[in-house]
Amino acid sequence: MQRKRDHTATGISIQAGLMVVIVAAATLAATSFIQGYYSAEGIKREASGRAISELEGARSDIMDIVNQAEAAVRNCIWIAQWCLERTDSLYRVPERVVMDNPVVVGSTLAVVPGHRQDKPVLVAPYAVRNLVSGKIQILSLATEEYDYPSQEWYLMGLEDGDGYWSEPYFDVGGGEQYMTTFSMPVTDVDGQTAAVLTADISLDWLTALINEIKLYPNATSTLLSRDGNILVMSGDPPGENEKYQTYTVPVERTGWTLSLAIPEEDLFASVRRVGYIVRLLQLLGLAMLILILRVVTKNLKNLQKVREQKDRMQSELRIGRDIQMSMVPKTFPPFPDRKDLDFAASIVPAKDVGGDLYDYYIRDEKLFFCIGDVSGKGVPAALVMTVTRTLFRAISSHESSPARIVSLMNDSLAETNENEMFVTFFLGEMDLVSGRLVYCNAGHNPPLILTNAICELPVKPNLPLGVMSGFPYEEQELDFKYDDALFLYTDGLTEAENASAEQFGAKRMDAVLHRRRNSIEHLKAMQAAVDSFVGDAPQSDDLTMLFIHYLGKGNAGKGERHLVLENNIRQITLLADFIEDIGQEKNLEKSQINSINLALEEAVTNVILYAYPKETPGKVYIDSLLREDALEFVISDSGIPFDPTAAPKADITLSVEERPIGGLGIYLVRQIMDEVHYVREDGMNKLSMIKKL
């Protein structure tokens, strides 16, 4: 079953891990695809912009030259017209064109054959700039071989009134370079086309210009002629299998086209590089993720194992604690038949197995009881606690002296104490007949005695059990009277902490003890006070309490009788029973008993009604001593100081009208009793009365 659960859990964690990896990979792929797509688009847009602007720059440079050449021709048209009238100076026209315009390398004025009857049929003076010397030579194109009237520049120049740019050509006659010619018709005064004026420009600078368009290393820039001939090409011609992004710009007038072809390879090189890096990083990330998942899965498995182990241990600890708790007697009231003892004990263990203990039993009319706290917590403390409790039972069963019992327990614990653990311990032995308590303290916090007041039981500290073998423990004694009580506790009470690390403390403990209740109610009230103080804070230590309320007649002599009343007027009936008992014991007559009862009732009523502030609980103590010849009574209370004997004596001779309603109580006491005295002593009002018999 255990193993099966193991596998299932592992399977689930592996599945979950796989899902995480798949989702992460898909997300990464999608984002990198989208990112790649949009950045390619962006790059295309950007490249197109740059290419066009680059091409337009080139075009504008070309247009500059073109316009200069065109202007050179246009500006000289009128000179040509004028010169055509004077045949001898025709050569000056092309000369002028070349001379005035550095961009123009050659110029001709080709006269329409037959236009001038007086001259040879072909007339075409040609001015050309010598590329080396810069001087201008005048040649003639009017040769049989050349036959200029059949040339494209001549024919098209004649036709196009606006001027015509020829297809570029390699000039063999003059410039020995690639040239293009702009030709415009020249009309005579009659409006007849008389000649064609041309300007030749070199295309060498175009090569340089086109070569400058170099946006990408493998881009090819091309200048195409009107007929689609490649005029200039920079870079290698595009291969067949390569993909290109091509941008073109037309060059006006000339009919040329500037084109730029950028291989996509070049264009997307950076994107692709970034893409490779991103993919590499993604793969690395996924690998890391898988690695982490593997580690986490393994840890989960370990964690589960640890938790199961912990669960098992805790359940064992719980069983241990249950066993431990079952060792202390827990039936309350433990001695329901005893009228002389009201006893209660409680132990609230902390979460862990703790080391508090208590025990009690009655042997030979003696109550043996103990409380203890083992140092430390956990299993070792619990074991020591068990041993201590066993020793208490074993040794106290045949020993009667508390000091002796404690000494023997100490020796036994000290001998086997390898863990340096010790036990603070208090052992008491109360003679329920006499009320005498013999006790021995071994380093435990002093118990509290509750009589008229609350105070610590005087204890010799001694050493805790288990510290030093052979330590001479001493015992002490105290006589308990009727209604006296002893409250024992472990430091789990006073040191109970709330969430703000405050301790419950002795003050809060005293406040609960101040109000007298029966023993079980006392412990319940104390536990409730601790619980409400501590709130949700976890209990850090065991909390153990014992409450021993002595209700025996006590050792104080055969003639002593005691009664304690609450300050509640209904309790007066208890007083009547108390006096009745005394009267019968002394064989008094009914009338005498009633008379004594009257005096006591008056005195006690006075205390009940007036000694304590309204609604404040208080006590009235009636102690009586039955002497041979007299009865002595002392009525005491811890209320506000008041001397009833100081009240003015009632005047019983007054008339009905004059008699006050009250004031008879103390008068009756004085009348009935033989002696009445008041003292204020130890914070108490004490009214003592003697009735002689």
């Binding site: 007027i569 009523t605 001779t653 009208e657 008699r659 008879l664 009756l668």
Partner: protein
């Protein structure tokens, strides 16, 4: 403590039975105070079965007596035991009430 009150021909008789101690006095005070209404006539407190009285019981008697004085009536105490008579003597009550044996 128990009080039974009988009214007959203008004569009111209250029979007191048991112990009239402080708690009992507090208990029967309303009944005793109801007798004040009849204090103009004759009120008989039959104490034949009264076992005990404390000062708070005496106060109830005295305040009835005072009401009788105001209204011109009479309070007669009948059948008190010697013990209670002693208390009446001690407190001077014997002189304040008309005591019938």
């Amino acid at each position: 403590m128990n009080i039974t009150i009988e009214k007959e021909d203008g004569l009111v008789t209250a029979r007191l039975e048991g112990r009239l101690d402080t708690p009992a006095s507090l208990e029967v005070a309303p009944q005793m105070e109801s007798l004040h209404e009849d204090a103009g006539g004759t009120v008989v407190l039959d104490c034949g079965k009264l076992e005990y009285i404390s000062s708070s019981g005496l106060r109830l008697f005295l305040s009835l007596r005072k009401a009788a004085v105001n209204k011109g009536g009479t309070v007669i105490i009948r059948g008190i035991s010697n013990e209670i008579r002693q208390v009446f003597i001690m407190t001077g009550f014997l002189n304040l009430f008309q005591i019938d044996d």
